[in-house]
Amino acid sequence: MGKEIFYFLIFPGLLFSGVVGGFLSWFDRKITAKVQFRQGPPLLQTLYDFVKLLNKETILPEKGSRFTFMVAPIFAVFGAAISAVLILLPLLNIETGFAGDLIVIVYLLNIPSLTYIIGAVASANPLASVGASREMKLILSYEVPFLLVLTSIIIKANMTIKLDEIISYQVQNGAFIGSLSGIIGFIVALLCIQAKLGLVPFDIAEGEGEICDGITIEFSGSTYAMVNLAKYIMLFILPALVVGLFFGGLNFANINILWSILKVVLVVLLLTLIRNTNPRVRIDQAMKFFWIWMNLFAIVSVVLAIFGL
């Protein structure tokens, strides 16, 4: 049990993925700044933000359920950290009982979004409710294409749903990105992750310009620090999951470490570039995009995977 708590709290869970996620968040902001011809934040900016938020005064909602509102961010961090454990252990090739069941990962990855929604509606703020309803609709949109991509992976990896077996299959037979269905699946998965992370063009639930950060509008001080922590972790583990599914996982032995870091950074770079070159879409446009186009792509990927392409 002590081992599992270590995995969860220190490595590769809360602390490790939080720190790496913080650096990735800095990377994301730095690239954004470069795209916009700005200087960008210093390397430790995310840490400064986090500590500053913790020391800020916290404002709690007067109406609504304060208890639920305060518990929600804790569960957001839990959901992110436990997903980090289940995704990163197989990725780093650490032999444990946690082999990373894909179905479980899909469900756990939804927990942070779910807790933002619960926290938002518990705050009794109408703008937060608008954000919550958009976030839920976004989940409904990307759930099916994301699952279809996973089924194409499952088919390619001889019907196994364990992440470590999927990775070892790729190590033996070449990464899935090398096949046609893998490329299509990667595009779909990347856009689903964009929506999962709530990045532009799918930052509809936050919608800074129209609903003042919507779903997170009422979070402040310590509660907002926790929400941000969950977001940092998600910014690391979702690209890491994609790396595991399409690029054959990570390898930290000798020189491979550079290559592994590059893989994750590459995925984050793609996400950042997408977010810097696109305007925000409306929720109905996003739903149509995922339900029609992304599903179509994902189905093509599944069919190709069935024919072994």
């Binding site: 518990v71 804790i74 703020n125 749903i161 364990k162």
Partner: protein
């Protein structure tokens, strides 16, 4: 078999005796009912510990009937008996406080006890004649457990009786065909293959009987209407728990004991399962009544059980049965919370409720647990059984049949249905318990012990079944029915639960580390403007976008006009024939003289040639 007498005979006899006691002494009737349910609970537990056997009850009054009195005590029936016993006790406790008003349902407790006894009888019976007798009684008590004194509830009661009655008659025909083919009425002796016309018809008829009781598409339409106007205790007792247990029990018997399925039969079942999941939950998404929303979910969840059982593998069947038990738990719990809210506020419409989490904390927590369970959030019980079903589907995909090759479709339907379930429960929780409090509900208080205790117990069982699913609950209850099986995935629910506790502690520490003591309470920020009391984004607006999509709105419009309701379709056909025949009987003399002459002519023609 003394247990069987107590389980089946006692509740029915006491139920009949209670008809004599006047309604004035409702409390006395209630207490008697609680005592009886405690006795049946005790005997259902002792029955669970019995060895498997085929028991024959001696019928003293009619000795010649003894040869029909075969009762099957095996792992499946023992499991269902145990849960019926537990639900009977919890709901009778709840009803004690829920049904204390005057002008309430008359003879509620009598029908409650008769239902209980008949349910035990139906589950334990091995002889199909005995089985169908108890089964029919359950249809009748279902009809009597709804008030029926206003137009809406009486039409719902009528609809229920007609649909259930029609399906029961098909069931009887199916049993007749089975007897014709095998020459026996005993379930344990029947083994048919679904090849050839007659076995297929029998299979179909029995299937309709089971699915109507459980409430699967397209035979589901009685469920939402019934639960909307029935008292919450009736809804929790029959459509939410007992009807699910019984309907799926019959389905399991059909699949496991009576018939060997061909791949086409499997395909039909998988299609029914998938469509049930999606269609019903899509309807639930747009509901604005607490109970009716739950009613559609009561239908949607059946899809998972049918899917699980249809897989036919030990993993699939265990998953389906586990989901049946889980669903009975959280769904009946949800109906109890609906009843509590209704009792304290007098309201069922979501837009007139709101912000009840402070006033009714226990009900809120229970409702939250049930909502997360039904939406399959780890580590609650709904997740465990859904996870088993998904694994079952993927495992099933390795096989080579028509249904096997389409496994991706079943998997997507099941997972997407789960996401939609979550969406509609977010709406429910946001609309009823969270959000801004409706000013009219300022004085609302928590329900009393008798009402919150059953909710809490069921919520605790939901959490417990989730946490101890893979290594305690499933081996103890379900693996014994289906035989051992291997999971293809890994889900360590206990470790995760401990990590949840750890993260709560860590979260608390981070809050302490942060500047949480210096917090301030303030009303909602809406961009700097002062918020008005009425400013609200109603939870009912959440999914309006989905309702307006072209293809979906086409189906929604049709569904709201009840175009997909088999009951309405048949009603239209019958009424059309009625109007056709009534044209012949319009009450005018010349028309009758015309029939008279025409008849004479036809007679003459027949006689001449």
């Amino acid at each position: 078999m003394i247990n069987l007498h107590y389980l089946i005979g006692l509740p029915i006899i006491i139920g009949i005796v209670l008809f004599i006691i006047p309604e004035m002494l409702k409390l006395l009737k209630g207490i008697v009912t609680v005592i009886i349910t405690i006795i049946t609970l005790y005997f259902s537990i002792t029955t669970f510990q019995l060895d498997n056997e085929l028991a024959r009850l001696v019928c003293f009054t009619f000795p010649s009937l003894t040869k029909f009195m075969d009762f099957q005590i095996d792992y499946l029936s023992k499991l269902i008996v145990l849960f019926i016993g537990a639900f009977g006790f919890l709901f009778s406790l709840y009803s004690l406080s829920y049904h204390n008003r005057k002008n309430d349902l008359t003879n509620f407790y009598s029908y409650f006890l008769i239902t209980l006894g008949a349910a035990f009888g139906a589950v334990l019976a091995d002889n199909l004649i005995i089985f169908v007798t108890f089964w029919g009684v359950l249809g009748l008590t279902l009809y009597k457990l709804i008030k029926g004194n206003d137009e809406e509830s009486s039409s719902a009661a009528k609809k229920t009786l007609i649909i259930i009655g029609a399906s029961d008659s098909l069931l009887i025909m199916g049993i007749g065909i089975v007897w014709m083919l095998t020459g026996t009425f005993n379930i344990s002796e029947i083994s048919l293959s679904t090849t050839g016309a007659l076995p297929n018809i029998a299979f179909l008829f029995l299937l309709i009987g089971a699915l109507t009781k459980a409430g699967a598409v397209p035979f589901h339409t009685w469920v939402p209407d019934y639960v909307k106007s029935a008292p919450a205790s009736s809804s929790a007792f029959l459509p939410a728990s007992l009807d699910k247990l019984l309907g799926i029990y019959l389905l399991a018997r059909i699949i496991m004991n009576m018939f060997r399925l061909t791949e086409w039969a499997t395909l039909v079942l998988m299609i029914i399962g998938g469509i049930t999941i999606i269609a019903a939950v899509m309807m639930a998404l747009i509901q604005h009544n607490y109970k009716k929303l739950l009613g559609y979910h009561a239908v949607s969840q059946v899809g998972y059980m049918v899917t699980g059982l249809a897989l036919g593998t030990p993993l699939g069947i265990a998953a389906g049965l586990f989901h049946m038990v889980n669903n009975a738990l959280y769904k009946s719990g949800l109906f109890l919370t609906a009843g509590s809210v209704e009792k304290q506020t007098g309201e069922n419409e979501i837009d007139r409720l709101g912000g009840l989490s402070k006033a009714m904390p226990v009900t809120f927590i229970a409702a939250l647990v049930f909502a997360f369970s039904i939406s399959g959030i780890p580590p609650f019980n709904g997740f465990s059984s859904k996870w088993m079903i998904y694994q079952g589907i993927i495992d099933f995909g390795k096989g080579s049949g028509i249904a096997n090759n389409l496994w991706v479709i079943w998997l997507v339907m099941a997972v997407f249905g789960s996401a939609l379930t979550l969406a509609s429960f977010i709406k429910l929780i946001a609309g009823v318990y969270l959000g801004r409090q409706n000013p009219k509900l300022k004085k609302v208080k928590e329900v009393n012990f008798l009402m919150w205790f059953p909710q809490l117990i069921i919520a605790i069982i939901c959490v417990g079944f989730g946490i101890f699913a893979a290594n305690l609950v499933v081996p103890f209850f379900f693996e014994r029915i289906t035989g051992k099986f291997d999971y293809i995935g890994i889900w360590k629910s206990q470790s995760v639960t401990i990590l949840i506790l750890v993260s709560i502690v860590i979260g608390y520490l981070i809050y302490l580390w942060g500047n949480m003591k210096k917090h301030r309470v303030s009303d909602s920020f809406i961009g700097g403007e002062k918020i008005q009391e009425e400013t609200e984004f109603s939870a009912l607006e959440f999914y309006k976008t989905i309702r307006t999509y072209k293809l979906l709105s086409f189906f929604y419009d049709k569904a709201e006009k009840k175009r997909f309701d088999l009951y309405n379709i048949f009603k239209a056909i019958v009424l059309w024939f009625n109007s056709l025949f009534s044209k012949a009987h319009n009450g005018f003399l010349p028309r009758y003289i015309f029939w008279y002459i025409a008849g004479m002519l036809i007679l003459m023609i027949v006689l001449v040639f």
